[in-house]
Symmetry: C2
Subunit: 158 residues, 2 copies
């Protein structure tokens, strides 16, 4: 055991290590919250996307970065639980749109509140100005990153 451990004062991480580890921490928290509601990370994401959209199956696949064949089962399971529903597309008799049900909306609302609380718990060690700074930096990264097109969704919370 070294002084870092004793004083809970690890060496400053590189920017890469910091972002990678922080992403694991956040995802772990999200996963734990989801598990408490029998939701996987991907299902949380699905509901989050549907909060303010009613995409086709194919658009959903693109939002999530998954193959279209993966979407069938994902939506099937969510539909079986009454969280989402397929609606017929007015233009295209092949396609469906996917919509959250009131039950799904209620669930994602509760999950969102929990995410709000627990992510705030994660940053309890930051003072207000640090939080503002972190939010601004995260926004800037998401805003300017060449990779942002990978994420066409918004977060799961309000």
């Amino acid at each position: 055991m070294n002084n870092d451990a004793l004083f809970n004062n690890q060496n400053e991480l590189s920017i890469v290590d910091g972002l990678v580890q922080l992403s694991y921490l956040v995802q772990t928290v999200l996963g734990r919250i989801g598990a408490g509601h029998d939701l996987s990370l991907i299902q949380i994401r699905l509901l989050g996307i549907l909060r303010d959209r009613e995409p086709s199956m194919l658009q959903l696949a693109q939002h999530l970065g998954l193959d279209k064949s993966s979407i069938t089962g994902l939506v099937d399971r969510a539909e079986r639980r009454g969280l989402v529903e397929r609606t017929i597309s007015p233009n295209d008799r092949r396609g469906f749109n996917v919509r959250v049900t009131p039950a799904g909306r209620q669930l994602i609302h509760g999950v969102g509140n929990e995410i709000e609380r627990q992510i705030n718990a994660v940053i309890e060690g930051l003072i207000d100005t640090e939080r503002a700074h972190l939010a601004a930096l995260a926004t800037k990264v998401l805003d300017t990153s060449a990779w942002s097109p990978l994420l066409s969704q918004r977060a799961e919370t309000k």
Copy 2:
């Protein structure tokens, strides 16, 4: 289409939204890099953990936050690919330790370099002082968060 989209200038995200979305972005990048080497996220994490440890199966389960029964298959598959190996524990004839092989070490080294490059690409929009700030804030969050015990591992890169 609104002005945000035109000017690539989305509203400042809340701290919660920012962290959640940033974590998705980082994980997506890690997943893409892994896919290029036939590695899943969990396998990248496994190799990352083994970079500087030789844990027992159970310790591995705790590091990863998984059930011990999940570790058997994970290590089996990595062992089949020659990336890790089980070594007999000197003290306990029931247990194994898990060690990365030279081939595994070489792979994780290459993956780590790619992570380094691509995460740096993600933050290309930040100037140096902003990067330093972000690294410091990430470190502080990881250092002070009550949830940090969930992550007893270090990141996958040098």
